[in-house]
């Protein structure tokens, strides 16, 4: 583990009765990156993150967050973290400004509450009670409360669930500006485009373990080498997956030519196709040869 490591997880296990929520998960998050944990509901993302945050105890494995075992994290350690939980609808009767000011009192050198409220775009709502905020505004407040202590490491658990597209985009800008200030961000999401837009690296989690870990571009690139070729032969739709589409098309031309090959299509899988196949929800039959 190098000094640039913010989060280090080795062979993490957590069982709930017979259910293996986390089953040998491993990952490393470096300082200064946005690291995304991607996976379907129930893949073990939230359990993993809550172990890192100190909310849950692991069954076994090795965990270090900012150099500390979360099970023994003290106030000093917590003051270096920012945690934005999946959902909360607490403190409804307080105003935005009151809450941000209040949470600022917990930290050694907090951000200026007024500037922070402006940074998350809630200046106009500063005097509004929390119960009157929209879902997106509420989430911005959650983030404000998570970063008021100038965290070195920020955990965000599915931050944009239920956002409209515009709110998501401005939320992403907010996260990028935090990264640019040097905050390390660990983000769980089940939105692929969110990971693609934000993450420097992403881990795809399925059944409690990491099934792929790379940059979003490399994740897509790796599978994009597998290309699907479709055509029609003997009045039947055919398809094949190959790393060498040119050779396949040449072979088809030789067999069916000369002239046009009926119904010819050469398709590279999108990141979404890759992701879906990784989490096992894919129509992998799409990637195998099937008589349609």
């Amino acid at each position: 583990m190098s000094p640039t490591t913010a989060v280090h997880v080795r062979d993490l296990h957590k069982h709930y009765g017979p259910k293996r929520a986390v089953d040998g998960l491993e990952l490393t998050v470096e300082h200064g990156e946005i690291f995304s944990v991607l996976g379907p509901n129930g893949a073990g993302k939230t359990t993993t993150v809550e172990i890192l945050e100190g909310y849950r105890h692991r069954d076994r494995g090795e965990v270090s967050v900012l150099g500390t075992d979360p099970q023994h994290g003290d106030r000093r350690w917590r003051s270096r973290l920012g945690i934005v939980l999946q959902s909360a609808d607490d403190q409804a009767e307080l105003t935005v400004a009151e809450l941000v000011q209040h949470f600022a009192t917990f930290y050694p050198s907090p951000r200026d509450p007024e500037e922070l409220v402006a940074a998350v775009g809630l200046t106009e709502k500063a005097g509004t009670r929390v119960r009157q905020l929209s879902g997106g505004q509420r989430r911005r407040l959650d983030v404000a409360l998570g970063i008021v202590g100038r965290p070195e490491l920020l955990f965000l658990d599915e931050p944009t669930t239920g956002f409209d597209p515009e709110a998501r985009r401005s939320f992403w800008d907010l996260l990028r500006s935090l990264r640019d200030e040097g905050t390390t961000i660990l983000l769980t999401t089940h939105y692929l485009d969110e990971a693609e837009q934000l993450a420097d690296r992403c881990a795809v989690v399925r059944d409690g373990r990491v099934v792929a870990l790379d940059t979003p571009a490399a994740l897509g690139g790796r599978a994009a080498r597998q290309v699907m070729v479709r055509w029609v032969e003997d009045s039947t739709a055919r398809s094949a997956t190959t790393a060498e589409p040119t050779a396949l098309v040449a072979a088809l031309t030789a067999r069916l030519g000369p002239g046009e090959i009926p119904g010819l299509e050469v398709v590279r899988p999108t990141l979404e196709d890759v992701y879906l196949s990784l989490i096992g929800e894919a129509s992998h039959h799409d990637l195998e040869e099937v008589p349609a």
Binding site: P3, G32, E53, R78, Y107, S109, T215
Partner: protein, 318 residues
């Protein structure tokens, strides 16, 4: 297909993140020399001292007070309830100079004031905390707080501080209402007010710790008031708050003796009723020692249970 990339592999995006980190590290290295150039800047937060427990506890107290007085349900059913009940009882039963007990008797309003004072103490401490903590736990507020460097003790000190302040204000209003609107004679000796002080403080403390402990009983925030309110109501009926304690069946008096409200009400009667009323007590005595013993017992049991069972998260959440 499911190969895990070794985490040490430096990918494009990853390297970009690093560069940022190094730049920041170097910037800091100029101002504060460090032997490890790869270590990222020490955030300013690490150097500064954590805020003291007293400061955070006071901030929590202020926030709790704000929250309490903005919650209409809490203000009506916890804060104003004993005032309303005193006004109703004193008006309805106090007509025509009706009295309680042997001649010359105690005016009705005066007899009921201690009961309402005891009820106020229980509502402001026990009912208030049992409900508010159950709701905060259910809504995720406690979990959020647990994820911050707030010292856990500050949370409880904030609850206790706000309970003490709200119930103190409630007592002033309640006793003021009794005195000004219903002409109840207030005690004039320091001795009586000293009794009031210890019964009030012990009762509030016991009610508060029991409220913290009891907040784990309701299965959700929504069901909390359905679980807590009937208990409080039954105790009011059997503990000599709404009815004259002497008039209750003996078995009901025995049951009431198990719970603190009966003792709280009796302690308050010893403050607000004249000396000759002591003979009218079931036991013929104010029983101050027993009152103190029961309240302390609830304080200790509530504290032990509360410490052992307190959860920052919902039962179904880890």
């Amino acid at each position: 297909m499911s190969t895990t990339t070794p985490p040490t592999e430096h990918t494009a995006g990853h390297t970009a993140g690093h560069t940022d980190g190094h730049t920041a590290g170097h910037t800091d290295a100029h101002t504060a020399p460090t032997t490890e150039p790869t270590v990222r800047r020490a955030p300013q937060g690490t150097a500064a001292a954590l805020p003291s427990l007293a400061r955070v506890a006071w901030a929590r107290t202020v926030l709790e007070l704000r929250q309490f007085f903005r919650e209409r349900d809490a203000v009506v059913f916890i804060f104003a309830y004993p005032l309303i009940m005193l006004a109703i009882f004193a008006t309805v039963f106090g007509q025509g100079g009706a009295t309680v007990g042997p001649e010359p008797g105690i005016p009705f309003a005066q007899y009921f004031l201690p009961g309402m004072v005891a009820t106020g103490v229980m509502l402001s401490s026990f009912q208030n905390l049992a409900l508010s903590i159950a709701v905060e736990r259910d809504e995720g507020g406690l979990k959020r707080l647990r994820g911050t460097p707030m010292p856990p003790a500050a949370y409880f000190l904030g609850k206790i501080g706000s309970v003490l302040l709200t119930s103190a204000i409630q007592m002033v209003l309640l006793i003021g209402l009794g005195s000004l609107a219903f002409g109840i004679d207030l005690p004039t000796t320091a001795d009586k007010w000293l009794t009031f002080a210890w019964v009030f403080v012990l009762g509030t403390a016991a009610g508060a710790v029991c409220g913290v402990a009891f907040s784990s009983v309701p299965r959700s925030g929504r069901s909390a008031s359905a679980v807590v309110t009937p208990i409080v109501l039954v105790l009011q009926f059997i503990s000599g708050v709404f009815f004259i304690f002497n008039d209750l069946p003996t078995w009901m008096q025995r049951v009431a003796e198990i719970f603190p409200l009966k003792w709280l009400a009796q302690g308050m009667r010893s403050v607000f009723l004249p000396e000759e009323a002591e003979a009218f007590e079931v036991s013929g005595s104010w029983q101050h020692e027993a009152t103190a013993a029961v309240l302390v017992a609830y304080l200790v049991v509530g504290l032990v249970l509360g410490v052992r069972t307190f959860r920052w998260q919902r039962r179904d959440d880890g």
